[in-house]
């Protein structure tokens, strides 16, 4: 090393943006900004959810009102028609033609009352649970099969209070109703099994030991099957028809989308 060389120590002051206090300030500022953005996002999301919920509640309220009105007003009129025709039937039993006509009147008013009952049930949010769907279907199936000479076996999983909305309840119920109607009218089966189980989605199986489904030849069948497919499509479910020692119908309906946010 030469003697002429000198060591000069230089200290360069860090620019202000590299000062510790600035870094700290910047860090805190950034954190605060992020906090504001996140908070804004959640506030907006919450507000959105609140409006959705309010809308939903308004719809529910309206649904219940319609159900109550239908129940009270139509119900009373239908009862009048029914009992009037029943009475006339008993009193005019010597006139065959009149008697059959009156029988029809009372049958149609019963049918209408039953269908209305189903609509009221689907409308009323009080029955928005899987449990209610299962027990409604079970009661219907038991009553419908009672005098049909077909053995009914109905199985279901453990009771769950999973939310399931009126639209899905109604469609699932109507598909089961249509399927049981087909079993009674066309299959010639001596026993039918209905099973409703829930794992990740609702799975319904209707299996009979009759002649199976002949899709090409029987027109009323075809119509009913199209109807069932359409109902399942509407609620985002699937339906499969199979013939194996009778007819087997398998439905799968996802339920997770219908849980309230």
């Amino acid at each position: 090393m030469s003697e002429n060389e000198k060591v000069i120590q230089l200290t360069i002051a860090a620019p202000w943006w590299q000062q510790w206090w600035f870094r700290l300030l910047a860090g805190v500022g950034t954190l605060f900004l992020v906090f504001l953005i996140i908070r804004g996002y959640y506030t907006r999301k919450l507000e959105k959810q609140k409006t959705i919920l309010e809308k939903q509640q308004a719809i529910e309220k309206e649904r219940t009102r319609i159900a109550t009105d239908m129940h009270d007003d139509f119900g009373a009129s239908l009862s009048r028609i029914k009992f009037l025709s029943e009475k006339m039937k008993l009193q005019q039993s010597h006139q065959e033609k009149l008697k059959t006509d009156l029988e029809k009147i009372s049958k149609y008013s019963d049918e209408m009352a039953e269908k209305m009952g189903e609509i009221v049930w689907a409308l009323n949010q009080r029955f928005d649970s899987l449990d209610d769907l299962v027990s409604f279907c079970r009661s219907y199936a038991t009553e419908y099969m009672e005098d049909k000479n077909i053995r009914l076996q109905f199985t279901s999983g453990q009771a769950t209070t999973i939310f399931i909305n009126g639209e899905i309840r109604r469609n699932v119920f109507l598909v089961i109703k249509e399927a049981l109607h087909n079993v009674v009218k066309h299959s010639g089966a001596s026993s039918v099994l209905v099973s409703m189980h829930f794992t990740s989605q609702l799975k319904v199986i209707i299996k009979d030991n009759g002649s199976g489904i002949n899709k090409e030849n029987i027109r009323p069948f075809a119509n009913g099957i199209e109807n069932m497919k359409k109902r399942m499509e509407e609620i985002g479910g699937t339906i499969i028809f199979k013939n194996e020692h009778g007819a087997t119908i398998t439905m799968q309906v996802p339920l997770h989308k219908n849980i309230y946010p």
């Binding site: 119900g75 009373a76 009862s79 029914k82 009475k87 009952g117 027990s135 409604f136 079970r138």
Partner: protein
Amino acid sequence: MAKIKVVIVEDLEEVVEGLSVFIQHDNTIQLMAAYRTAEAALLEIPLLSPDIVIMDINLPGMSGIECVRQLTLQKKAIQFMMFTVYENNDQVFEALKAGASGYLLKKTSPARIVEAIKDLYNGGSPMSATIARKLVEVFNHHPSGNYSAESSSLLTTRENEVLHFVSRGLSYKEIADQLNLSFHTVKQHIRNIYEKLHVQNKTEAINKAFGGSH
């Protein structure tokens, strides 16, 4: 054999007429009277002492439920059969709480209505899944209807089992098969559950009335 004495409370004329014709057609049932309002029924029924009162729920003025509530306090021996359009109705349950032990759907065929009157008279009581589910809540104090093994102190284990099966929509016959009981025994259990509901409801009412005073 003495005839079953029946009174009808119903505001729709056609329904009363139709019902009367069928009741009078059966020679084991005697129709004593029919009232169009709960108020009239409340005045007259205690004097008549019928076996069974068929009571509509939606009446002009006082409701059928209130009428049952007041009449059960006066006359213990009378049995009340609610007469309603749908069984999935909160009002049916309120009526059962008030003291009714049966309900009849208006869609029921007249022949079956006559049968149901005889059945109630002989100790039978109908119960639907919806009503059973509400009963589970009342007895277990689980508002969400948690069907755990936890049994209530009010109901016996058997009554609880029967109630849970009904709440899942099983028919009496299916329940009888599942529990190895006779059909008749299942009916008796159902009847006992209703009795306990009435007792509990009365106790609750008394507690409410006197609970705050000391």
